[in-house]
């Protein structure tokens, strides 16, 4: 049993096995302005429910098109505010930040919880040793209305990461290396658990990137067991685990175990048109870049901005490049400001945007024209993801992104570190 089946067994009060379909009380549900409008429609128009059993466990976020780039978005934002106010649902309005970042920062999701998020990158929060499931709007609506949902207990694959990350290799490079090996359907129908000595070298910021990207290999969920690093991070925020689960991965059995030697990895990018099209950064160094985006639920945290600032300090963004930096949350923004990173980025010629998912999902704040090339720290490089169908997205770490912003072409960050 991995941590997820151990946790689910604990919550349900009897031992469960992979493949079992179980009914479970959901501890937290959240949705954003891309999915909440349909949640509201299902609850009010389609179901016409009068009472929401889990309203006090529900959180709304306005993060995808924030601030509203057009009247359509303004309209759904207004609807979200009206609905949240009517049912006493806590709403994080424009400016708070990206849902997966805010729920961990604010201590809304805590180790041991069962969480459903109406967003595919909900596995991000599994870095805090909890069970996360990304769902659609109707699933979220039913969880909010009844407080319960069904889940199929996923078989867990143990991904063991071993060794000290070499210079220029971030957790984004680690997970892209892994996706390159396993493919975009490599973990379909499975959950991923991370273990191994590399975790000792990865902060919570870095770990959230690992779990975030598991979505891109089809994983239903991702998790990292509780350890000293996470406990210390929680302590700093005054947050305690929600449920204590007695768990030791060394005593666990998994459907599969895959070992990755991190000390042999180098900086990589995922070239278009898919996330498993992973190549060493040195192989694409000639590709000219029009836009760099540093942000998103994947890489918009303080550590990411710090890394970008380190590379961009006393340097200039190449004249050909628009370099957009969007901190993942207001807290990240304020911290980056206090530490002087925002100054460095602005001096270098970056555009520092408010917290938003915007560019990653092609919603607003920097869409690409036909033929343009972006280096982005986000999570998807599907055709047309960030703009015109004939624009191209290379996914990378913040280090590769910042180095590329300086050189105007995809660049190896090791020259700057």
């Amino acid at each position: 049993m991995g941590l997820i089946d151990t946790l689910l067994s604990r919550v349900i009060g009897k031992e469960v096995s992979p493949g079992d379909i179980v009914i479970i009380d959901v501890d937290t549900v959240y949705a954003h302005d891309g999915t909440a409008p349909l949640v509201i429609e299902v609850l009010e128009k389609e179901l016409g429910v009068k009472k929401l059993y889990a309203a006090d466990k529900t959180y709304f976020f306005i993060d995808h098109s924030a601030p509203a780039p057009h009247v359509s978005a303004a309209h759904v934002h207004r609807e979200m505010r009206r609905f949240a106010s009517k049912y006493a649902i806590r709403l994080f309005d424009v400016g708070y930040g990206i849902c997966h970042q805010v729920v961990v920062e604010e201590g809304i999701v805590r180790p041991g919880m069962v969480v459903m998020g109406a967003d595919s990158h909900t596995p991000t929060i599994g870095a805090l040793a909890l069970y996360s499931l990304g769902v659609g709007s109707t699933d979220a609506a039913i969880a909010i209305a009844y407080g319960k949902q069904w889940v199929r207990v996923p078989p867990t694959v143990n991904i063991v990461i071993s060794g000290i990350p070499p210079r220029g290799v971030t957790s984004k490079d680690i997970i892209l290396n892994i996706i390159g090996e396993l493919g975009t359907d490599g973990m379909l129908g499975k959950a991923v658990e991370f273990n191994g000595d590399t975790l000792k070298h990865l902060s919570v910021d870095s770990r959230l990137t690992l779990t975030n990207m598991c979505t891109e290999m089809g994983a239903e969920s991702a998790v990292i067991p509780l350890d000293e690093i996470t406990l210390k991070w929680l302590e700093g925020k005054g947050v305690t685990p929600y449920r204590y689960v007695d768990y030791d991965y060394k005593k666990s059995e998994f459907v599969e175990e895959i070992v990755f030697e991190v000390d042999k990895m180098g900086p990589v990018v995922a070239a278009p048109p898919d996330v498993d099209n992973v190549v060493g950064v040195e192989e694409v160094e000639k590709v000219e870049v029009d836009q760099v985006f540093i942000g998103s639920c994947t890489n918009g945290r303080l550590e990411d901005i710090e890394l970008a600032a380190k590379i961009l300090r006393n340097r200039k963004v190449h004249p050909r490049v628009r370099c957009i930096v969007a901190p993942a949350s207001r807290r990240v923004y304020v911290e980056a400001l206090r530490k002087g990173y925002v100054d460095i980025l602005l001096e270098a010629g970056c555009i520092v945007a408010p917290p938003t998912c915007g560019p990653c999902v092609g919603a607003h704040m920097g869409l690409l024209a036909e033929g343009e090339v972006a280096v982005s720290t986000s999570n998807r490089n599907f055709p047309g993801r960030m703009g015109h169908k004939n624009s191209k997205v290379y996914l990378s770490s913040p280090a590769v992104a910042a180095a590329s912003a300086v050189e105007g072409r995809i660049a190896d960050p090791r020259r700057y570190l």
Partner: protein, 172 residues
Amino acid sequence: MIRGRCWKLGDNISTDHIISGKYKFSAIDNLEAMLPHVLEEVIPEFYKKVAKGDVIVGGKNFGKGSSREHAPRLLKLLGISAVIAKSFAHIFYRNAINIGLPVIVAQTIPEVSETEDIIEIDLANAVVRNVTKGIEEKFKPFPKELMMILESGGIVEYIKKYGVPPWVRSTE
């Protein structure tokens, strides 16, 4: 019995392919306005060519990517009666069942089918046929609760009929 004309698609059809984020977000309060953009990069003007009852046959990892439920909803709105694929991304799979769009996991039918073939699906007996090619494949039957959701036309219709979702009903 579901019977319709086949649209053969490849592996890894994402929810971005079905409806790109840039259209979803620019018309977020209007599902109908998104229709012209459904699968547009895969089959140009798909919304004009598709007919009521048509069946989509995909490959591996159908519906991967975003959790946007607009993807299966738009397919259903265009008249698609079922999606057959070798495997599905889990959120798309749950979303499709929730809105009453049958999603069938099969291995042979996606191999042999071509666009324009006639496909039949017998949900009750868990059989899918390519009538044109004369090839039949059994699939794993749906658990009783999911079958009842599909038969009701989705979870909302189920709740209207029985008062609560099947998993709440079974614990009462």
